[in-house]
């Protein structure tokens, strides 16, 4: 018995164990390494999130495709059939943009109230809190990948092959999408703790944001000349989602100029930049997005100190 205890004591030498510090401020580097250390928790939260979402529903994960499919169908009906925008294969153009928008929308929407909704957990268990909004973004990534898969099958079924060389820029655009969504989600989740109205405000703001992004219309064919005349093009491109959507559309829809099915005149739908220009813009954007992500983490760090008393 004594020996067993001695052995247990010997095996329980903590001299080399890492030291964790709880203090008023956590530096950005430590914040990132904490996050990395808890990636298994992130994965578990994402899978449980998805499972809970569809638990007990008859169609299960199919819902994650059905509702975007309905949105796609409605937009197609409104813009292509009723309003006759004359864009051939409009459904592919629409789908490529919607895939991007859906990820941003669902990531930000679900993350906005996550800290408030899971107050019980936040007040009782210690873990890097930013994992909660990041898990919502993670679920959004899973749905995004499913929808992307459907998009690829869809284009294959229509025998509409993507622009293969643009597949090189796609990961870059996706990274932009991820970091931007995560940054917005992290900041919004923390701010909502202090201002509960943000939950509703976000829903409204995202609706406006959707129409500021060329998903259901073509930027080149509608706003571009007017914005260019007033020198506001840069302002429009301040919205990072625009560049990401354009990259996805360019990859999957391919044609930059098409013949209108209504007026039979040529229509310029997408910017005529080459691959290099797309890559360059996405790279510059990535720099900003990573910066934004880090900024979001440090803002979150500032705000999380008072969570306990505000929740």
């Amino acid at each position: 018995m004594e020996d067993a205890i001695a052995a247990a004591n010997a095996s329980h030498d903590l001299t080399g164990a890492p030291v964790r510090v709880v203090s008023a401020r956590i530096g950005l580097g430590r914040r990132l390494s904490n996050l990395w250390g808890r990636r298994e928790l992130l994965r578990n939260l994402i899978t449980s999130d998805i499972r809970i979402q569809y638990k007990g529903s008859a169609l299960g994960i199919v819902w994650s495709m059905l509702s975007p499919a309905f949105t796609l169908g409605i937009f197609f009906l409104v813009f292509s059939v009723f309003l006759k925008n004359g864009i051939p294969n409009f459904v592919i153009y629409l789908f490529a943009g919607l895939v991007v928008w859906n990820m941003f929308f669902s990531g930000v929407m679900s993350a906005t109230s996550v800290i408030v909704d899971r107050a019980g957990l936040v007040k009782k268990v210690s873990f890097p809190r930013e994992i909660l909004p990041l898990s919502n973004v993670g679920s959004a990534v899973v749905y995004f990948l499913i929808q992307l898969g459907v998009l690829i099958l869809f284009t294959a079924a229509l025998r509409h092959s993507p622009d293969w060389k643009f597949l090189l820029v796609l990961p870059l655009a996706f990274a932009n999408l991820y970091f931007f969504t995560a940054a917005v989600a992290i900041v919004m989740s923390a701010l909502t703790v202090y201002l509960r109205d943000l939950k509703h405000l976000t829903a409204v703001a995202l609706q406006l944001w959707f129409y500021l992004t060329p998903v259901v219309y073509s930027y080149e064919n509608s706003l571009a000349p007017a914005l260019h005349k007033h020198g506001l093009t840069a302002l429009y491109f301040m919205n990072p989602i625009t560049l990401i959507v354009l990259t996805f559309q360019r990859t999957f829809y391919v044609s930059t100029t098409v013949i209108s099915t209504v007026s039979h005149q040529p229509l310029t739908l997408l910017p005529t930049w080459g691959l290099a220009a797309f890559a360059e813009r996405n790279l510059i954007c990535l720099g900003f997005m990573i910066g934004l992500f880090l900024l979001a983490l440090s803002i979150f760090g500032r705000l999380e100190g008072n969570f306990e008393s505000e929740l």
Binding site: A17, V22, K124, E308
Partner: protein, 383 residues
């Protein structure tokens, strides 16, 4: 010895909003209304816990012990100061806070385990042990929302203790489950102690501290008023409690009662098992006071052997010196040293008016062959 928890100059203040303006409209229209009060929950707390130590944190409600615990667990950030932790920490605070009721017990074990900071591999290894300990059995694949509250807590407790943390923080959760499960929990805590892990036990029960801890820290209104030996800390804790009773209760003549000494006729505190034990308590009171006298006897291991009925021994104290005689007709205790605590409580038995911790120790000698704490005189006959 390695220090596993180092608390250094920790302060924690809370802002208390007297009017909560959490909607945007309210904030925009009345940016300055609503008083904000600063409340200091912890004030300059410093202490350390070494590997293998069991430390109790004592304090009455509102003393800041839960805040301190939350800071140590990392749920709250201290306003200033820092806490250094070496090794993994599992907290038995509000068991099951991380559970998702829609998921099965199995999924929750993984979710809660990773939330406590353990890897999936580690949880795989001890999964069966967790299920066995929780006694959930085949319900493990049932959604947690169908669990009884007992099953819920047992599962959470099983995860927290079976992941084998280096530091275990226990917050008054030993009251969960039925008696058998409680005994199992205490057992597990003792095994942790033997394995040289550090345990932080937060409670307001002096008995628990005496039974389990090596050392105790006492908090009072956010300040640390004691850090040391269990008996000394308990003494300070009881005194603090008494001071508060005086402050809250306005019983006029309290605080002026003191238990000065205990004497025996022979002057010695030696007694034989089965013999009568008689001693006198000398109590000074400033005014006339009617209350009850309470006596506790503890073994050296910290086990409460006996406590008299809190309402059963009325004493009418006169102003000045009083002598109260205490007699145990035939002492059933076996050999050993036993500590005596004496106290005066009010007539309802709820408020302690005066308390004297470890006022005397008696030495019991025993000639027979029974073992344990008490002599029962058991007769065993074959029929």
């Amino acid at each position: 010895m390695t220090t596993v928890i180092g608390v250094e100059g920790v302060n924690k203040t809370f802002k208390i909003h007297h009017e909560r303006n959490q909607s945007l409209k309210e904030r925009l229209l009345h940016p300055r209304t609503g008083r904000t009060e600063i409340f200091q929950a912890l004030q300059d707390i410093s202490f350390t816990v070494d590997a293998g130590e069991t430390v109790g944190i004592l304090g009455h409600n509102g003393s800041g012990k839960s805040t301190l615990l939350k800071c140590i667990c990392g749920v709250l950030q201290p306003t200033s100061g820092e806490i250094r932790l070496r090794g993994n920490l599992a907290a038995l605070l509000e068991l099951g806070a991380g559970f998702q009721v829609e998921l099965s017990g199995r999924d929750n074990i993984y979710l809660y385990g990773t939330m406590l900071g353990f890897s999936k591999k580690r949880i795989d290894e001890i999964f069966d042990e967790i299920v066995a300990f929780s006694e959930i059995g085949h319900f493990i694949d049932t959604q947690v929302k169908f669990y009884s509250s007992g099953m819920y807590v047992r599962l959470a407790f099983a995860v927290a203790v079976n992941v084998n943390p280096d530091i275990l923080v226990v917050d008054e959760v030993l009251a969960v489950g039925d008696e058998r499960f409680q005994a199992k929990c205490i057992d597990r805590i003792r095994r942790f102690q033997q394995e040289g892990r550090a345990i932080l036990l937060v409670t307001h029960s002096g008995d628990q501290v005496r039974a389990l801890c090596d050392r105790a820290v006492v908090l009072d209104s956010g300040r640390m008023i004691a850090n040391g030996d269990v008996a000394d800390s308990l003494k300070i804790f009881r005194e603090a409690l008494m001071r508060d009773n005086v402050a809250h209760e306005d019983v006029g003549n309290t605080g002026e009662v003191s238990i000065d000494a205990v004497t025996t006729a022979s002057g010695a505190f030696d007694v034989k098992t089965g013999a009568a034990m008689r001693f006198d308590a000398h109590i000074t009171s400033a005014t006339a006071y009617s209350g009850n006298l309470v006596m506790e006897i503890f073994s050296q291991g910290g086990v409460l052997v006996s406590r008299t009925d809190r309402m059963g021994s009325p004493v009418n104290l006169r102003p000045g010196a009083n002598v109260v005689s205490i007699e145990i007709p035939n002492l059933p205790l076996l050999d050993g040293v036993f500590d005596i605590n004496l106290g005066v409580v009010d007539e309802r038995g709820s408020n302690v008016i005066a308390w004297s911790e470890k006022i005397a120790s008696m030495q019991v000698s025993y000639g027979g062959r029974e073992g344990g704490l008490v002599e029962l005189g058991t007769l065993i006959r074959q029929l």
